[in-house]
Assembly symmetry: C3
Homo-oligomer: 661 residues x 3
């Protein structure tokens, strides 16, 4: 594992740059991301290009042996550029232009802005594509941040009509696919189709879903435009983008297909505070360390978006500024987060940012250095990890590169599908239902049982996994259906699986639609419940309660759980199981234990707040709890820490004891 940092030389006097580079090395950092917000410094006036500062910065970093991830600056076009292309601005759902004054002031669908990006990225790639310091490029920054995927401007309307024409060919096909006859919503031509905002009441969900898909595809195309240029001028460099937490507005699997590595920006405290996914109790318990599954969930998700390769591009190093409340991390939390990323396969963990800026929107966002240039708390923890990586490397007799490529796959596959997410959230039926939350809670249950999970796309090869969970795979494509039919492991399909066709209709045979041959049952109707109504559930596999979503199922399959009226809740046999309701975590875990047994996987109930992860010969344990915890694996040799884990503690064991005996 390598460590890195995000650096903004343009924010500081040149006289400081040498010192910065030297101090980075002293801490043990090897990678530096720069440039992604610097368009106005590069091109302060239209066509007046100032590369000299960037030349110098790159040279200094290179001289100090630092490797550079160079960002294309397209997330922050300068004011003069925006003024030249007012049509590049996005419009929000209320029809208001989203003006210049912060960042991301563009809609992905703007062809004018794409031309400007093509020009700038080409200039940059030509100049630095072969620079020895540059080992990687980051395209833009945090696609979609500040809710910028969906835009309702003229450019978006044009793009949507083209996209629809391309997809459906004729307007009649679209009318049929959307069921427009429902409220006389039929169109006579693609030119009649509008965007689905500001309608009198809810627009047709098929309309909304296709708009979401189109907007996602605009992100893919926007990214691809940059990728194509960078591939041309800067062969051999890793292309990467930095994704965000709990963000589902575009299909990350599709964007990831065009890149070499997936990275993401991890802010465990900021997200704990701002996300509705967490209860108030969780927010209180994990105030200073984040939720135990926040990092892991995204590591496993984005590794799957990155063809197996994962970086952390921005790691929270202290209090941030953008959440409703911004507490300081617990002592040791930054180290914990860093090691956990490694345990889930990260090759690189890069802190955001080097030195806290004394100005601008994020002036209260901590860095490794304080605004006055002194080291902040996180600098010490980063240095500690750097040293520990060295030590570990020696103990294991592996060099850094060998360490980086240790195996990282899990043995349980959890399918996460952006299209399913959009589909199910468009009409949640119960306001309490949210696709992402449900997937997260299934993941949490698996992980509390000590299982190592891969979060996979609907395109993933499934055969290597003894256990496969489809939490809520709304639409089952023909391709997925075929792979599921041939899948030999244990399959659990959750509520709403197979409930929609590709164009958001109810399947002719009702849910689970194409899965009815594997799971011979029919979802007759749905009981979508308020937050506080939690009917009891019990049966062969345990007892507990259900919440939010409760399907009425007719089937001859054996019933493993049923509700208090005797309606089946969990059914199945052999290797195929269907869960028709969202159930509480404790009961879900009991069921996953049963399924794991069938799949030949061993499980264990971990202490509260403790999580483990295997990677190659290494076993990691992390304590997110507020109190010390004890965890002792069998047949393992302690390398770092001990079986007594303090709060924010980390322990690492070597498991291949047989080699050492």
């Amino acid at each position: 594992m390598k460590l890195g940092v995000c650096y903004y030389p343009e924010h500081w006097p040149k006289s400081r740059w040498q010192q910065d580079a030297q101090e980075m090395r002293e801490i043990g950092l090897e990678y530096v991301r720069i440039g992604e917000f610097s368009w106005s410094t590069i091109e302060p006036e239209p066509g007046e290009l100032h590369w000299e500062w960037l030349d110098e910065a790159l040279d200094i970093l290179h001289e100090h042996g630092l490797k550079v991830i160079l960002g294309t600056p397209t997330a922050t076009p300068p004011k003069w550029l925006v003024d030249r292309h007012p049509s590049m601005l996005a419009k929000d759902e209320q029809g208001r232009i989203r003006h210049f004054g912060s960042r991301r002031h563009y809609t992905f669908a703007s062809l004018d802005y794409r031309d400007e990006c093509r020009r700038m990225v080409t200039l940059m790639a030509e100049r630095y594509g072969q620079h020895p310091a540059v080992v990687s490029w980051q395209t833009d920054n945090e696609y979609g941040c500040h809710d910028t995927v969906l835009s309702y401007a003229e450019a978006d309307l044009m793009a949507f009509r083209l996209w629809l024409k391309d997809k459906y060919g004729t307007i009649d096909r679209l009318n049929t696919a959307w069921g427009n006859v429902f409220w006389s919503m039929d169109y006579r031509s693609f030119e009649e189709v509008d965007l689905p905002n500001l309608t009198v009441t809810e627009a047709n969900p098929s309309h909304r879903l296709d708009f979401q898909r189109c907007c996602s595809d605009q992100v893919v195309a926007f990214n691809k435009l940059q990728v194509d240029i960078l591939r041309q001028y800067s062969k051999g460099r890793d292309l990467v983008h930095n994704y965000m937490g709990f963000f589902t507005a575009f299909d990350h699997h599709k964007v990831g297909q065009d890149l070499d590595v997936a990275s993401w920006d991890t802010y465990p405290l900021g997200f704990l505070d701002q996300e509705a996914i967490y209860s108030q109790e969780e927010k209180q318990t994990y105030l200073r360390v984040g939720h135990p599954d926040f990092g892991a969930f995204h590591h496993d998700l984005y590794r799957g978006c990155g063809k197996g390769r994962l970086w952390i591009m921005e790691q929270q190093p202290g209090p941030v500024n953008w959440a409703p409340h911004n507490p300081t991390p617990a002592e040791g939390a930054v180290r914990l987060w860093t090691w956990e990323a490694f345990s889930h396969g990260a090759e690189l963990v890069s802190y955001f940012r080097w030195r806290q800026a004394p100005f601008g929107q994020e002036q209260m966002h901590a860095g490794l250095l304080r605004p006055d240039g002194q080291g902040a708390e996180a600098a010490k923890e980063a240095a500690q990890v750097a040293q520990e990586v060295c030590d570990l490397s020696q103990v294991l007799g592996l060099n850094a590169e060998e360490l980086m490529v240790l195996p990282k796959s899990g043995n349980v596959a959890l399918m996460f599908d952006y299209d399913a997410c959009w589909s199910l959230d468009i009409q949640p039926q119960s306001r309490a239902y949210r696709y992402l939350s449900w997937c997260y809670r299934v993941y949490e249950a698996l992980r509390e049982l000590g299982l190592s999970v891969d979060i996979v796309s609907n395109q993933a090869a499934l055969d290597t996994y003894p256990l496969l969970v489809l939490p809520a795979q709304a639409h089952i494509s023909k391709d997925l259906q075929a792979r599921l039919n041939s899948y030999q492991g244990v399959l659990l399909a959750g509520p709403r699986t197979g409930s929609k066709t590709a164009t958001y209709q109810i399947p002719d045979n009702l849910a689970p639609g194409p899965l009815a041959n594997l799971l011979p049952l029919t979802v007759e109707r749905v009981d979508a419940l308020p937050e506080h109504t939690k009917p009891s559930v019990f049966g062969l596999w345990g007892e507990g309660s259900l919440c939010y979503w409760h399907e009425q199922i007719s089937t001859d399959l054996p019933c493993l759980l049923k509700d208090h009226t005797g309606q089946p809740v969990l059914v199945g046999c052999d290797k195929h199981f269907y869960l028709g309701s969202c159930i509480d975590k404790s009961l879900l875990k009991a069921c996953l234990v049963k399924l794991s047994e069938k799949a030949g996987l061993s499980t264990e109930y971990l202490p509260t707040g403790v999580r483990i992860r295997e990677r190659g010969p290494l076993l990691f344990a992390f304590n997110y709890g507020q109190h010390s915890a004890h965890y002792q694996p069998d047949d393992a040799q302690i390398l770092i820490g001990s079986e007594s884990l303090p709060p924010a503690g980390v322990a690492i064991w070597r498991r291949d004891l047989t080699d050492n005996q």
Copy 2:
């Protein structure tokens, strides 16, 4: 009582239509509503009229003996029509155009759209006005749904200025009526008057009230336009519109004057879930059956809007899709709702809809059939009711028509006034006060005492009622004043009665204004309280607490209840009583018992969740509770059910035992 269903042949292949019609008959349905969303199927291109499918659908229904309620399709103009008349689109209070993409994309005030409606309704009425299947016409669909009565577009402004000119004649009269001198808001001409939205702070309440009245009158005019055409071409058919629950944005009494029957769309679970009128406890208790007074309140209200004639045009048959949460109804709930409608005078109960659509906005809205064409739960309950109606008919020795016209009036009159609703809600003084809620709670109290209520307009004949309640009759017109003066029964006037003039001013003699001769008292000032402040009340008639609204009254009338400072709360003697505060339900019931005694009406405290209703010789009991309940009337012969009512249970007795002895 007849049963019916809402049917959309245009959503299904013609090959299915025969089967559909046959199955409807098998269930026992006799009426079918069709057509109301089919404009784009009738006229897919401007002027290209496709009647053939509708001809065929009507013929098939007719062949099966089904009677058709034909809807004018004006709630869903097609896209091409909207594009031709962009000015027909409404604007919301924030000034945003409400675009095409769902339904009801028009403002009632648009003269362009009225022309298009005139054209379409004329074409339809000419073609089907004499069709033997067509026994009734429904104008448009759910006027005002999706908050479409108030619109702030140019067409609305033009209509408002004309309306004001027509009402006031000169601008000086308007200025005086509104008290525009207050903040230099005087106008020099009607052309200076704007709509009361997007003002710096609250617009003049007189301005707002007149705008609400004007918008309500646009609905009346829009409906009248269709009525006039239908009367011309389709004599003898019942004209009807389908109203909604808890909807007060237009004056239903005025719209009802132009129609033959009032109908409404009853969704007990959807409204329980979404309405702020209900407490969280009520939402939980009545989750699967709806609030015990929801249906009855609207039956009694709309019967009064329909010249005594009531239909249920859409009856919820299973989970719906549009509430925040959408649970399944309890077993028996659909039957209970159907019988209760009959007990309150409904001639027809029509379920929405025949078959659940697999596409569009309402694809999760249950029907009598599932999307796959199989029968859903409600089909069985509908068939059961159909059979029970037959049986009852036989036992009573009445044919279906005789059953339909059994007496339906109550003996307590509760005045509900749309104008009062607008007036009092414009300035609630305490955010906790809401006219509709207060009326509903008074109705609930009456009904928990076993009383049969007629909800009457301010135009209603009052003399037949021994007890009359004015919950909050803001303005007392001269006409109403005269009728109250000659009224011989017991009168209870609630807080805010007589508190406003016709143009929303405080009466010269303060509240109760024109009622001061009947109720010699003065409302000196008002204590408008927060939700949780509930001062105690006690006196000759009981004890309890008050909430929200508390008037300081000066009077020489006997004081029956007073607050803890000794201020009078309920005063009156002989037949005239004034209640100056909103009081808790238990105390309210105690007072209503006293008033009923004075009125010669007998009352009884019904078991929790149980409601009764008399209709002609029949006495009905309904159990909305979660547990079995016992109810046994005197001198009555059980016809259906028993005195032990299970949850969602129904019992029917014959009371005219004297005839049978």
Copy 3:
């Protein structure tokens, strides 16, 4: 102390005016404010001026010996004027025009509207500047009411660009001051700068702060324009404006510099109900009398904005209409509020309004008279106060003028700074933090200890105060720094003091910035906590908990309080102390007792709900509690009331007993 009333002769028939004037005198009122909403009566048509009614009204008032405060009517331009200058309308943050229909329909930056105001004020001042009844002018009415300081119209943009150009001279200086390099937000000219609304995400806080400052300066300029005219035509009259409660959108100290007296409009119940600053428990406890520190806080604040002179222009006399709930005041509350204003230095208390209007937006706003012209409750209490003032005057042997100019200063200075308020609220870091709340709670703590407080601006002379509190003085100007350096009293600086430069950057030496020489410490980082996280605090000076804001401080100063990890919370020695966290009231009071001791000030813990104030030889006690309370000062002679204070009770003692011995 004098009493007065707000009067609207234009709302009533002339035939009533004589009676009104006579009754005012009978109650004991001496001042009348009129005219401030009367533009449309004065000038119903452009250029057609109708002064005759105002001539007559002034004459009648004069004949009855009433003194008039004449309001310029610029808060309510007539419709014709607005239609002539549509660009004068404000736009809200969402970009929507704020239309005519209520009041304050203008943006302060509109040069067109300023021209119209210049014209009208000149006409009025020419006509009445020397009228014998006119003793004072009120400019406009409640600047900023209905959120009208910040506006986002074209006129505001033009004003902002000019203001920036004037401030920064060159665009490079602006870019540097704002740190625009941060996200490529650099501008090439002032013409490129937009308003900071409708940006994709948060605009640069420096940008937002400067916009707030600019808008505040527009208010100052708007007021100055009127002041200059009035000074020219009406020499010797007091110029005043009526400020509002809890309103910080413009710099009242700056506006106050141009006027002779500060006045404010005090509505203790309306503000209790609507303000988030108060807990639900406080709202319940003080429902009918207001929060014990509401009036006093504003009296002390605005006296400091008025060069030491304070009037109450509008005193709540009964229930109002504009809060979410509008209860009636407790018996005696109006008297209590009036006397308390006097105890804090008010020369005049004027009730709003004379007679409740039966029309318009405020028809439910009580007056001294009811709408029917009869006396309301407050009239009695006003008359009682008038009589008590007479009595007191006699007992003290002082005439009314001598009474008015009794000393009014406190001995603790609390610095309140509008610029600090804007700065800190722009980025609160924890949503729970609010500058005004924190200052209010510090004030409350001081007052619960019986201290008399002056709330002072950053320009105030500090030397006379033994104790000075800077609750959160974000930016320390060079001038303030110099005065603090020479200050000899005890200084307490609270969290966030010195944390920002003048252009909203973090100081080079971190917080407390320029105060680091007085308080040698560094704020290393900030722990911004959620509402319910309240870490414990303890140390030499007490124990309790902290909330919201917790700074990590490095210093060698003695530590008087620390958190549970040992981090310092309160540090200092000798006369300089720094509090790095918001702490609970009880602990705050314990610390203020210690600091008062050091300052030589005596403190006492007052009974709950009781507050005292000294003015000259007089000592006042007020009971805001729901129960009787006992308060007995040493060496004092009771003049009004007794040491047993009933709810809403007032007691007044003479303290200069030595003179009487």
